[in-house]
Subunit: 117 residues, 2 copies
Amino acid sequence: MKRPVDPDVRLLQAAADPTRLSILRQLGVEGAVCACDFTACCEVRQPTVSHHLKVLREAGWVRGERRGTWIYYTLEPAALARFRELAGALRPGSARTSGELSGLPTLQSAAHRPIAR
Amino acid sequence: MKRPVDPDVRLLQAAADPTRLSILRQLGVEGAVCACDFTACCEVRQPTVSHHLKVLREAGWVRGERRGTWIYYTLEPAALARFRELAGALRPGSARTSGELSGLPTLQSAAHRPIAR
DNA sequence: CATCTATATTGACAACCATCGAAATTTCGC
DNA sequence: GCGAAATTTCGATGGTTGTCAATATAGATG
């Protein structure tokens, strides 16, 4: 299996699917949702839902808990935290990037730019 | 082509790749980066970098601006905002989801659960 | 114009992924 | 233990995607 992936990439990949994002959104709104209810929101068969839930589980997004015959899923708070952290890490830090490209090398100064690579 | 996709999914899909996440991270740190410099950080050929930059551009993540021979890329603040907004929308809202599955139907009350679907 | 450098596009190929039907597994109630 | 219902696993399949070499385009410079 392919394990050696950046966990942040795994988190994003897991969320980057229409069906799975719908699932995450529904969980965000309703808190705890029975697995059987996801076949309604997403136009997808039940084995497919099961597959997506597995992906979300393995990425750390959700946790499933049995309640009799049904399994209720909830969002994993840690995943949400990691997600926001990721958003924070992308925030333009030292350099200014808003709007105009201020702080860029001018045309002539760029001319002496050392060869990349 | 496949256009009719949820823009949020597109945003996530664009970020959910090791190479592209590296690019986004580097942009977050350095502010403005020459396209030619991305071949260094990610172990990938130039056409591949160009391809990924196109994906990020079309998803709204980055903007490119010519400066002589080179093209400098910067993060698009709007994309960052949408990304954080998305993280906020996933926040457990009304229902409580922390830790224990409180608020779930008990076993017997779940028994009369209307058939899902 | 000729040429050089950076970037984009094209075409091909392999790997991956979402989806489904069918079958196996788990759990409950009788 | 048996049957019913929810869920998972399996195998197959069509579509998407990341990667590259080769080629094309664009801007700068002589």
